[in-house]
């Protein structure tokens, strides 16, 4: 079936608006981003492989993806609790709490970075108590995870919240009147409905955490092989004018995230299909 490029409409301005959109998109986003491919094309495959599999790069990848994963998991658990509490219960100051959830998106990352470092440093408000029990807050992978948890916090709450709001209470009433106890209703009726959105929120928080820079570099300590995240390693290579190395690490990072996100999407599609059948 052949279809026209654009469906007819009485509204004017299609060529103008689409033309400008594509022009501006190319100029600002596509042409600059294509530089990554242009630069990668000039690298030899062995050169690329050497940079990407060097011990320092692998350690940075492992740290970036590992801490991003842990922080996204923490956010999935607590984000679900926050979303649930905001939708289902009433308590004083609820509207302020609701607005506050977006704070990490509004606060410049450098500010978050220095504030969290100050809090979790061995002399900080929280860090000194952690130090008492022998835990190193700032300048450790734990510190990185804390910063990434801060950054990813809004994503799970804001994807689960609207789904919970839309959830028809009659479903729960029906389950209850059919003799299900509250726990069974939550597990078998409510959870399957919100699970896809929980997974979406988790993926968004994870993706954001992988590339995060500003909030992490202050608290990380930035020790090569130990607390050096992948974006920082790119920065270090750039400061040494090693553009090829920086590009190789960046492309490697994008490839890994692409594979992870694609498998996440596949998992989500698979699960929602299964839940739809059940």
């Amino acid at each position: 079936m052949s279809r026209r490029f654009v469906q007819p409409s009485i509204l004017p301005g299609f060529s103008l608006s689409l033309g400008f959109t594509v022009f501006y998109l190319s100029l600002i986003v596509l042409i600059p981003l294509s530089m990554l491919f242009v630069k990668t094309a000039t690298l030899s495959l062995s050169g690329f492989w050497e940079v990407v599999t060097s011990a320092r790069t692998l350690a940075a990848y492992r740290l970036s993806f590992g801490t991003a994963l842990v922080s996204a998991l923490v956010n999935a658990v607590f984000g679900l609790v926050v979303a649930w509490v905001l939708v289902r219960y009433s308590f004083p100051g609820k509207r302020i709490v609701d607005a506050l959830v977006d704070f990490p998106l509004a606060l410049p990352t450098a500010v978050a970075g220095i504030a969290l470092t100050e809090l979790y440093a061995p002399t900080g408000w929280v860090g000194r108590y952690l130090a008492l029990v022998g835990i190193k807050g700032a300048f450790s992978p734990l510190g990185i995870t804390i910063a990434l948890t801060f950054i990813g916090l809004p994503f799970v709450v804001r994807t689960v919240q609207p789904v919970l709001e839309e959830l028809d209470p009659q479903l729960e009433e029906a389950a209850a009147s059919l003799g299900a106890n509250r726990w069974q209703t939550l597990r078998k009726v409510v959870f399957p409905v919100i699970f896809p959105s929980l997974l979406t929120g988790f993926t968004l928080a994870f993706a954001r955490a992988i590339g995060e820079y500003g909030s992490v570099i202050f608290i990380a300590g930035n020790m090569p092989m130990k607390t050096e995240i992948a974006p920082l390693l790119i920065m270090t290579k750039l400061e040494q004018y090693d553009y090829a190395g920086a590009t190789a690490i960046a492309v490697g990072m994008l490839l890994i995230s692409f594979v992870l996100l694609a498998s996440g999407n596949f998992l989500q599609w698979h699960i929602s299909k299964k839940l739809g059948k059940a």
């Binding site: 530089m35 926050v82 820079y213 974006p231 790119i234």
Partner: protein
């Protein structure tokens, strides 16, 4: 109905868990910023903010936002007009391309401009030959900021325009109004809250962007420093109180953003 909600102690426990979690992760850092900013009193606080480097950084941040936000606003309106009002091939693909800058690490966003304009970059030799400075100068800072905030207006405007529908525009056109007149008199008033919402979010990110700007700025004091970069420099020089004073300005901006955002959200919800 007892079976429709959780037992009282479970509810209290969940609310407490949520509040403690948000308290530790959101309220504590905010309190920490202001506590440290005023550690040496008001006089010192105002003094650090009046420092020429701080003022230059604020000016650079303002200029960046003043260029980036209007450009992305025009783009956002054009893109949402094309995407919402028309059905064309490749529309979903275009949407995902528009979202690209959000899924790229800020450092990589900066890197692509270094690869473009840097000495070893594509345009590098030509720029050097013509004595044009883009990298490590304000143009690159502005470009990187435009890149990072690129989808922010479009993303907020598309759902608002979609909810609005096209009936009013169609009516205006049938009654003989010109295309531009319909756009200015019907569409723009209908989406004004969505526009404002997009501007608020885009501006907050433009003023606060750190990673991408850090890569392309070269950290030249008084010239290519934005306020977030100024915070970094002061902090790395162990001028903690001054760093937190500058940070408190940005934190204040974040609070104003949240308040404005909450009001505009309410207006969008009720204004339909």
């Amino acid at each position: 109905m007892r079976t429709r909600t959780e037992p009282r102690f479970v509810r209290i426990m969940l609310v407490t868990t949520a509040l403690v979690f948000l308290g530790i992760f959101l309220v504590l850092p905010l309190a920490c910023v202001f506590h440290n900013a005023f550690a040496k009193g008001w006089g010192y606080y105002l003094g650090t903010l009046r420092h020429p480097d701080a003022l230059a950084a604020m000016r650079m941040t303002m200029i960046t936002a003043l260029v980036a936000v209007p450009l992305n606003l025009v783009f956002g309106v054009a893109a949402s007009w094309a995407i919402v009002k028309f059905d064309f091939k490749g529309r979903d693909f275009l949407l995902s391309l528009i979202d690209l800058p959000l899924s790229v690490s800020p450092v990589i966003s900066g890197l692509v401009f270094v690869l473009f304009f840097g000495a070893q970059g594509v345009m590098g030799p030509w720029l050097t030959a013509h004595n044009i400075q883009i990298l490590f100068a304000p143009p690159a800072i502005i470009l990187a900021t435009i890149f990072v905030t690129f989808p922010m207006v479009a993303r907020e405007l598309i759902p608002v325009m979609r909810a609005q529908g096209s009936e009013e525009e169609e009516a205006a056109l049938t009654l003989g109004a010109s295309g531009w007149k319909t756009f200015w008199r019907v569409t723009i008033p209908n989406i004004r809250w969505g526009i404002l919402y997009g501007i608020i979010l885009c501006n907050a990110r433009a003023m606060g962007e750190f990673g991408a700007v850090s890569v392309v700025s070269g950290h030249i004091r008084g010239l290519t420093n934005t306020l977030p970069l100024h915070v970094e420099i002061l902090y790395n020089e162990y001028q903690f109180t001054a760093a937190f004073a500058a940070a408190s300005v940005l934190a204040l901006l974040a609070i104003v953003t949240l308040i404005a955002k909450t009001f505009v959200e309410a207006a969008i919800r009720s204004g339909r």
